[in-house]
Symmetry: C2
Subunit: 264 residues, 2 copies
């Protein structure tokens, strides 16, 4: 079992209650990464569902979860022939930290698309992409050690005070440990890049308020490609759209989050 599988493992207490132990290796400073937390929520939800694939997950991020024990409470809302809908709430010390509405269904492996659009922006070859400098240990950015991200260079120009001025970020992505992508890795991928607001010239902690992502196909092994962009930064709010393609070029996940502009 990989570290990621272990760190997102949900242990069944009863039909609607699961325990997870949140791992300090997935932190962005003190708080844990939102994608990691969604993955743990989804493990519990899928375990309790007759359907194996979380096709739609909408999450509101209420408070910043910390490493340590947490409990997932499930409320079944509907169970039909093709879909099951569940509410999942992650709690720590009895308080809700994440609340999600999740539809599970059964996707067909290697379904042939009836219609598909190519990615909006081409990626340079992997060899031309770059990694971020390793964070200082005291920064608490432990997530960086678990993920291997290779950025399209202009989209991290903000590191050297040359932001593109457009809200965008693009990278190849895989876990550093040997693990093929699956829906849980995709939950991590849709929230893995630095905020697109950085490329627009803003800085600071940008808390996600809401993130919805859809699993569109089961990913093939290999690198994922993540393309993030935003449409509007206004009134201290910004949106971030993410498309994830697998190594065969298939669109496997799409997300949008609404976030607060950070205080630098």
């Amino acid at each position: 079992m990989t570290r990621f599988d272990e760190a997102t493992k949900a242990i069944r207490v009863d039909a609607t209650t699961y325990e997870v132990c949140l791992d300090d290796g997935y932190a962005i400073g003190g708080p844990l990464n939102g994608g990691y937390l969604m993955a743990a929520l989804l493990r519990a939800t899928v375990d309790a569902s007759p359907h194996p694939h979380p096709v739609s997950t909408s999450t509101q991020f209420l408070r910043s979860a910390r490493p340590g024990p947490a409990v997932v409470h499930l409320t079944p809302l509907k169970s039909g022939r093709t879909t099951t809908v569940t509410q999942a709430v992650l709690t720590q010390h009895g308080d809700p930290y994440l609340a999600a509405l999740i539809t599970t269904a059964t996707l067909t492996p290697d379904a042939e698309p009836f219609y598909t659009t190519p990615p909006t922006t081409p990626m340079p070859p992997l060899a031309d992409c770059v990694q971020l400098p390793a964070p200082k240990p005291e920064s608490g950015m432990t997530l960086n050690a678990q993920t291997d991200l290779r950025f399209d260079p202009p989209t991290i120009g903000w590191l050297n005070s040359t932001p593109t001025r457009h809200p965008e970020s693009r990278a190849y992505f895989r876990l550093t440990e040997p693990q093929a992508p699956d829906p849980y890795v995709l939950a991590l991928a849709v929230d893995a890049l630095p905020p697109v607001a950085f490329s627009a010239g803003l800085r600071g902690w940008a808390p996600t308020v809401e993130l919805t992502w859809h699993l569109r196909a089961l990913p093939a092994p290999g690198w994922l490609t993540i393309r993030a962009s935003g449409r509007l930064i206004s009134d201290d709010w910004f949106d971030e759209d993410v498309e994830v393609h697998d190594s065969t070029g298939r669109l496997v996940a799409q997300s949008r989050q609404l976030a607060r502009v950070g205080r630098a």
Copy 2:
């Protein structure tokens, strides 16, 4: 009070319970329009919140609601200085029909965007756009009478068996009764167009499974512009992205829904 205001009115029973009377004038055949139902949910949620603006609404559509009495049950999840998060469930006869997670906040009127992108596709002048033919009374498409939609002609080519083959739909939008757009009208607008799958060459009832929309600014009076497009139709699922601009060209709402391909 306009018909729309009346039809979405939520009457407070207690701090977490509201009654609504679902109006048969907002139906798509038998079932009621999803945007109309979201508007009623939002009326209850905003009434119970210290914040006036529903900035983020994620809804799972569990069953097809019918005209008649319904009850909205609210569960407070978080109330902070800048945002309040509420779960809202619309029930009929004791069963859940819609489940939503909603963040309310306070937007600044006429906030100047820090960054904004123009719409991806220009709209032709209003005079060059066209209305759909009036539905037959026996179709139960009563929603058509409440909304004034003027379509970019190619995007309704599917009516005459000349679909563009791309999942897209674009139109000007207003209510037929005199009513300036507000967040509740925007909830209707993000789900008001025919499914984009029609333009791709598919037909049939296409039930929405999940729809998340974000209120990005308070709309100015006048026509709204709705642009809908999809990225992938595969395995009997499709996505539909909607951007709504107000009469000043401001992006006021953005949504994405995941829906099932219809059975023609």
